[in-house]
């Protein structure tokens, strides 16, 4: 080991970025050629090995990181670009090089596409030998039409993915297609590493274990395939782009120093007249500010020295179907947040009625149903208070009826002063104060 180059960080010039271990690849395999080209590019660049991360995918190419003196990350099949994205985002100054095969480009297609679209500053070398070399020569997304592989014995019925066009048309700033035999490949790799945005080199090569013997496919045939497929080689896309990790950091700087999810402590400012757990249910339609009205009740309760909880039920859609809020107000801490039987139910809409059956069935004479004239005939033992929105003398909309009826109900229920609700709007939903304060005011006319 004493004869090996000593790799100090401060050392001015590294003669190689490879370690002493010989490559493990089959005789004639393109991987060794490409890795030697990569080494030449790194030697020319002289970026400190500590500032370089070689991220490998799976397959024979996945072994490659072990033969370099840089940092190494060997992960799962197809995910190399996603790990590399995380590394680059966490430390944008790192030089992140991804080595993957055509297999990885297939299974990890979405990561490839999205890294290209974002222009994450990675250098991606695709070791493209048209098949899975490690697992037995199965066909991949780049296997030419008609080619023989262990899973396409009668000729590949599929058509190959054009990796370069895919990433190039979707925003990648630097896209190159060539072969492992290209004399200038070290320079192209060096340019790709120097390029700040997403750079990809689709490097065609021979798999001497499977693809070459299956298809009588040598250097000459591979060069012929490029022409036969009507593809261009060389630098196919080159454009000026914003490198993603630096761009994100720049955007984020504008956010610095703003308060981070600040605590919003509430001191009791109002009295309350609640001596036991009080269960209030609001039943209306999604998109009609039912949960929002419920939250105001909770804030108002806490402003009055109560403990409050709110549990909501709604479908997966956003502005259609039901929206039911179960609110508990209590002078003591609340553990269980569910409501089996409401002490008061505010029934706001037909969607709400559909979900209120079990509440209405359990409610007794002690309980109160607040609702609009439309539902005056609803069957329940609860005492009914019919609230006529027309009396409010404000324009009733889909989004203010919930608050109007809830505020009117609170006036009747005497849980805490209605002023607590007003302050809750001013303090916690100030953006909507212009709309909501007149509604709370108008609610007094419903119960006068």
């Amino acid at each position: 080991m004493a004869t090996l180059p000593s790799l100090e960080i401060e050392q001015a010039s590294l003669p190689t970025y490879k370690n002493e271990r010989p490559f493990p690849f089959c005789p004639g395999c393109g991987h060794s050629l490409i890795l030697n080209h990569l080494d030449k590019a790194l030697v020319s660049l002289q970026i400190p090995p500590t500032q370089t991360v070689i991220v490998t995918d799976i397959g024979c190419v996945g072994l490659s990181d072990q033969y370099f003196v840089t940092n190494a990350f060997h992960g799962l099949h197809g995910r190399s670009i996603a790990y590399a994205t995380g590394i680059k985002l966490a430390n944008p100054e790192l030089n992140v090089i991804v080595l993957m095969g055509d297999g990885g480009a297939g299974i990890g297609g979405t990561h490839l596409l999205n890294a290209a679209r974002r222009n994450v500053g990675l250098t991606v070398l695709v070791f493209n030998n048209f098949n899975f070399g490690m697992t037995g020569g199965e066909h991949s997304v780049t296997t030419p039409h008609g080619a023989i592989t262990s899973t396409t014995r009668r000729g590949n019925p599929e058509y190959p993915l054009d990796i370069c066009a895919t990433v190039g048309e979707n925003g990648a700033g630097f896209v190159y297609r060539g072969t492992a035999f290209d004399k200038d490949l070290p320079q192209r790799i060096e340019e790709a590493i120097r390029y700040p945005g997403f750079a990809l080199l689709d490097i065609w090569e021979l798999c001497t274990a499977y693809f070459s013997p299956f298809n009588d496919f040598g250097r000459k045939e591979m060069l012929g395939l490029v022409d036969a497929m009507g593809l261009e080689t060389g630098l196919l896309y080159y454009r000026q782009v914003q490198e993603y990790s630096h761009y994100v950091r720049k955007l984020n700087k504008e956010m610095a120093e703003k308060p981070v999810l600040p605590l919003k402590p509430i001191e009791p400012e109002f009295p309350h007249w609640v001596d036991r757990k009080f269960h209030l249910v609001l039943a209306g339609s999604a998109g009609a500010k039912v949960r929002s009205a419920g939250k105001l009740v909770g804030y108002a309760g806490v402003l009055s020295g109560l403990w409050a909880t709110q549990r909501d039920d709604y479908p997966t859609t956003v502005k259609s179907g039901h929206s039911v809020s179960e609110i508990i107000l209590s002078p003591e801490e609340i553990r269980y947040t569910g409501v089996a039987k409401p002490d008061a139910l505010v029934l706001i809409s037909q969607d709400g009625l559909k979900k209120s059956g079990r509440y209405l069935a359990r409610m007794t004479e002690e309980d109160v149903l607040f609702t609009i004239p439309q539902f005056a005939q609803v069957e329940t033992r609860a005492r009914k208070v019919i609230l006529d929105p027309k009396r409010a003398k404000v324009r009733i909309t889909r989004t203010n009826l919930a608050l109007l009826l809830t505020a009117a109900a609170l006036r009747e229920l005497h849980l805490f002063p209605i002023d607590a609700l007003t302050v809750a709007v001013q303090r916690f939903q100030a953006r909507f104060a212009d709309q909501n304060l007149p509604i709370i005011e108008a609610s007094s006319r419903l119960v006068a």
Binding site: I9, T85, V260, L261, A308
Partner: protein, 406 residues
């Protein structure tokens, strides 16, 4: 007394930020999305980075990459997303990656009920990746605990270099609750063992490279190495690491590896690695036994629960005692590894243990296992272990606990 009216998602995000989280990658999924939104909004303010990834696999992969570049990552998803995280959870275990994963459980199987609470991922997250290696999982049962246990999750993830789950459900994440602000308890958050961040001086003594961890010449070191990325002694010790971009070369791998991070099939090295991954958690299980035992003298029955269901349990305990009935309750905050001492101590002297969970009976298996093992060990009869479950989308109600006491 100042209080706050707030949801669990906010408390989890605050806990993460208080613990030094500086990276978040996630993919939108109900009911975990509020955490994604909070983290993407807040991280830029503290110099961190948040990203909505292309899918869940991308999200956890980015977190793992970021972790090895020195970040403190968190991600959040629900059961369907955990399925997609599965392979990378194994990678994080194998490569020893500090990573906090919030699983906001929803009713399954498959897409199940997106807005429906459930606790169906208990065994799934424990055995959710190939190989069967241990993970750590914490389950808060209040908004304030969401804050504190998220900090604990970061502490454990960092110190043990392992994925740590925070298990909540739709109710815990979304429901508004009142919190006495004094209940937000900060806990110390440790750091992954780090190699001293400078190259040893001198770097070579008598032709042998000096290990930056020990400061001593180490003949095992290769020419490019200043430390060994997967070197531990004793076997349950957590190996020091160095972030990509620091002064040392770090090798990371998902494959069975030796101390250099090179692939190996050497049976002795593979055995040592696999034992290490298991024992670094299991030998330290008693350092992470969290929960709230509430044992009443003379009680024959002990309720045991966690998360949202523990809230109904605690209410049932209060109501039973108000009626003059003796009953005990145990709220678990640690689910994995099973907090055996905590459970055995709380159960001691009771004739019945009722395990309540919002699924078809998953954690009850652990309690049965533990009770029978303890009975065998002590040559006594085990307590009766009963299961209270529910899987119709509704919460387990306090009344369902109380039925056991009639």
């Amino acid at each position: 007394m100042a209080k706050e009216y707030v949801d669990g998602a906010t408390a989890i995000a605050r806990g993460a930020l208080a613990a030094g989280c500086d990276f978040f990658a996630g993919y939108p999924i109900t009911p975990a999305t509020p955490i994604l939104l909070h983290m993407l909004n807040e991280l830029p303010k503290v110099g961190g980075v948040g990203i909505e990834a292309e899918d869940e696999i991308g999200a956890i992969s980015m977190c793992i990459g970021a972790a090895m570049a020195g970040a403190r990552p968190m991600t959040a998803t629900s059961g369907p997303g955990i399925s997609l995280y599965s392979e990378n959870i194994g990678l994080a275990i194998m490569g020893e990656v500090p990573l906090v994963i919030v699983d906001v459980m929803r009713m399954g199987p498959a897409t199940g009920g997106a807005t429906t609470p459930a606790q169906g991922d208990i065994q799934f997250i424990r055995w959710g990746t190939s190989g069967g290696y241990p993970i750590i999982a914490l389950a808060p049962s209040s908004v304030a605990e969401c804050y504190t246990l998220t900090m604990r999750a970061f502490d454990l993830a960092e110190r043990f270099r392992t994925p740590v789950f925070i298990l909540v459900d739709k109710e815990m994440n979304y429901a508004m609750a009142t919190v006495d602000i004094h209940e937000y308890v900060d806990v110390p958050v440790g750091q992954r063992p780090l190699v001293p961040q400078q190259v040893p001086e001198p770097a070579v003594v008598d032709g042998v490279r000096v290990n930056a961890v020990t400061g001593q010449p180490d003949p095992r070191l290769r020419p490019e190495e200043t430390y060994l990325p997967y070197d531990w002694d004793p076997i349950d010790a957590v190996p020091p690491t160095s972030p990509f971009g620091g002064p040392h070369i770090t090798r990371f791998t998902t494959s069975s590896h030796d101390e250099h991070g090179f692939l190996t099939k050497d049976p002795e090295k593979v055995r040592r690695l696999n034992d290490h991954l298991r024992l670094k958690i299991l030998r330290h299980r008693h350092e992470m036994e969290f929960g709230i035992p509430d044992v009443q003298e003379g009680a024959e029955t002990l309720f045991l629960s966690f998360g949202t269901t523990a809230r109904a349990m605690r209410e049932a305990v209060d109501r039973a005692r108000a009626q003059g009935k003796a009953v005990s309750g145990l709220t678990l905050h640690t689910l994995w590894p099973v907090p055996e001492r905590l459970i055995l101590e709380a159960v001691a002297g009771h004739e019945r243990v009722i395990v309540a969970e919002l699924n078809h009976g998953q954690y009850v298996r652990e309690i049965e296992r533990l009770m029978y093992r303890e009975a065998r060990r002590t040559q006594t009869l085990p307590p009766e272990v009963l299961s209270l479950t529910r899987a119709d989308g509704e919460l387990i109600m306090p009344e369902q606990f109380l039925e056991f006491l009639t």
